[in-house]
């Protein structure tokens, strides 16, 4: 039996070393203002990757670039060895990157369950299946008590949690969490941390933007600090 050639093995190791998710020198200019300027980072599978920085430093813009809410000015983004920059927002979600919004965007005049069913339909066709997926996600995030409430009637902590639930229902491999603990009281923050850890344990890679240092220090495997759209640490 023939053994694989030496260089083939090397190539394979090279592939393994390649990051699960990688941003290469991404930049975004709004007119002359560089909101994000040449930021590069790599995220390994199963990690919780933290992004920190002061207000206006470009953290949310990075999310908006990853999920193609804005087009990139320069650079490229790779996910699972494939280039995803240039795809549309919904296509990126189909590839398995879910996100939550810092300024929550609940579908207000729908019940919590319907909110989550709508996003569960991404992976399943039949309604029964979508309901099952949605109920599982709601249970996972502890929103069961609010299931039949209208999304607009929820308090902020639950709205933040609904954001997470809704993106989980799209069965993401990578989840972008944008300030999910902002505006929560200490006990709600604890619950949020628990949920984020649970999501990580279920095998989903997470990139998180957070202001509350206690949150980010206690859960992140790796942290990137940015200011003025550039990496500082």
């Amino acid at each position: 039996m023939e053994h694989p050639k030496e260089d083939f093995v090397v190539l394979e190791t090279g592939n393994c070393l390649m990051a699960y998710f990688e941003a290469r020198k991404i930049s975004k200019f709004f007119g002359g203002l560089a909101a994000v300027n040449g930021v590069s980072f790599k995220v390994e599978q199963g990690q919780i990757y933290g992004l920190i920085g002061p207000n206006g430093s470009g953290k949310t813009t990075i999310f908006n670039l990853i999920n193609a809410y804005f087009p990139l000015t320069k650079g490229e983004i790779l996910f699972e060895d494939q280039k995803i920059s240039g795809l549309k927002t919904h296509q990126i979600c189909q590839r398995g990157i879910g996100r939550t919004f810092q300024i929550v965007k609940p579908l207000k005049r729908m019940s919590v369950l319907d909110n989550v069913i709508a996003s569960a339909f991404l992976r399943v066709r039949r309604k029964q299946d979508a309901v099952a997926v949605a109920e599982e996600a709601i249970e996972f995030c502890g929103l069961t008590a609010y299931k039949d409430k209208l999304a607009k009637s929820l308090p902020i902590a639950m709205r933040k949690r609904l954001e997470i639930t809704r993106s989980l229902a799209t069965k993401p491999k990578l989840l972008l969490l944008d300030e999910t603990a902002a505006g929560l009281n200490p006990s709600e923050v604890e619950q949020a941390i628990e949920i984020i850890k649970k999501i990580r344990d279920s095998g989903i890679t997470i990139v998180i933007v957070e202001h509350i240092m206690r949150v980010i220090m206690s859960i992140s495997d790796k942290i990137l600090a940015i200011n003025h759209g550039m990496v500082i640490a």
Binding site: F101, L107, I117, A118, L122, R125
Partner: protein, 335 residues
């Protein structure tokens, strides 16, 4: 179970209606109501459920109507073929329109649909070699009796209500409502918003186009002023939706009934009551009153919309529980 029984009972009543009520005038009114149920349902799908307000329902209605009429006058094909084709042509119009105009959001999209309406009205007016312009097109009616038209209109109305019911409880319905509630959130939930808005618009256009083609067959005469009318078709479609209840399955049906009834009460001067009153009393002032009342139906629509917005913001069907409570309370008070 109530969900099935009540509409079923209503359907049976509607099926029996022309057999019981043989007066051609009331049959005519019911045909109009059924046509408006279809148009209102079409409007409701794109505007109520998907949240893309359509100000130009008459564009699709008129295109459907003209398709049927032109088939007969130019190609000598029975205008009945216009029924399926009217729907199809309306979709063909909706497709490029949506593809271009769904880049616009909210009120800008609504204005674009208004423009579409006007574009087609002008085309139909100016292109005389094809459409006969303001002279209009005459189509001989196939049946003298109103009953065949009644059942076709009933089929169309029931079909459109069932279509809405099925669509809104499926994946499509969830996507449409998600787009209405927040387009950015919908995008990040993996919904291709442009694609699903197109589906919604095409379904709506198809239903409205079918209604237009049926109108040609039934009325036997169309001209640009009638079928591309902004206030008699486009605005009426919106009123039917709002009065009945936006984004409710049975709202347009209720709205159609109320709107046609009000229009007719005013147009006929309280079903001829005012004329009789004028004759009985012999007051000359009654003739003037009758004249003004019969022209005041548009004004009455305005008043009705104000009333609905103030007291029943979700329409008669949408606020049914509130309405019933109020009525019950009122009855108890007076008893």
């Amino acid at each position: 179970m109530k969900r099935v029984y009540v509409p079923l009972a209503l359907l049976i009543v509607l099926i029996l209606f022309p057999l019981v009520v043989t007066d051609a005038y009331y049959q005519h009114l019911m045909i109009l109501v059924l046509l408006w149920v279809a148009i209102g349902s079409g409007w409701n799908l794109i505007s109520g459920y998907t949240g893309q307000v359509l100000f130009g329902a008459a564009a699709f209605f008129g295109v459907g109507a003209y398709t049927a009429a032109l088939l007969l006058s130019k190609l000598d094909v029975s205008a009945w073929w216009g029924l399926p084709l009217g729907g199809l042509v309306a979709v063909l119009i909706a497709f490029p329109f949506g593809w271009i105009c769904f880049r616009l959001r909210g009120p800008y999209f609504a204005l674009a649909t208004l423009a579409l309406n006007e574009i087609f009205r002008h085309i139909a007016t100016i292109w005389e070699s094809l459409t006969e312009g303001m002279v209009g097109i005459l189509v001989m009616q196939t049946f003298i009796s109103k009953i065949p038209y009644y059942y076709i209109a009933l089929a169309l109305a029931a079909g459109s209500v069932i279509m809405i019911d099925v669509v809104t409880r499926s994946r499509l319905g969830y996507y449409f409502v998600s787009i209405r509630e927040d387009q950015d959130a919908a995008e990040s939930m993996g919904i291709n918003t442009v694609y699903y808005k197109m589906i919604s618009l095409c379904l709506s256009a198809c239903v409205i186009g079918l209604a237009g083609a049926l109108y040609t067959n039934y009325m036997g005469f169309i001209d640009p002023k009638v079928v591309f009318s902004l206030h008699d078709i486009s605005i009426m479609a919106i009123l039917v939706g709002i009065v009945g209840g936006v984004s409710t399955v049975y709202g347009p049906a209720m709205g159609a009934f109320i709107m046609v009834a009000i229009q007719e009460v005013f147009r006929s001067g309280g079903f001829g009551l005012l004329v009789k009153l004028g004759k009985a009393t012999g007051w000359p002032v009654m003739a003037t009153v009758t004249k003004y009342v019969s022209e005041a139906h548009v004004l009455s629509f305005g008043l009705l919309v104000i009333f609905v917005i103030l007291y029943l913001p979700n329409g008669v069907v949408g606020d049914w529980s509130t309405l019933r409570k109020t009525l019950l309370f009122w009855k108890r008070e007076t008893a």
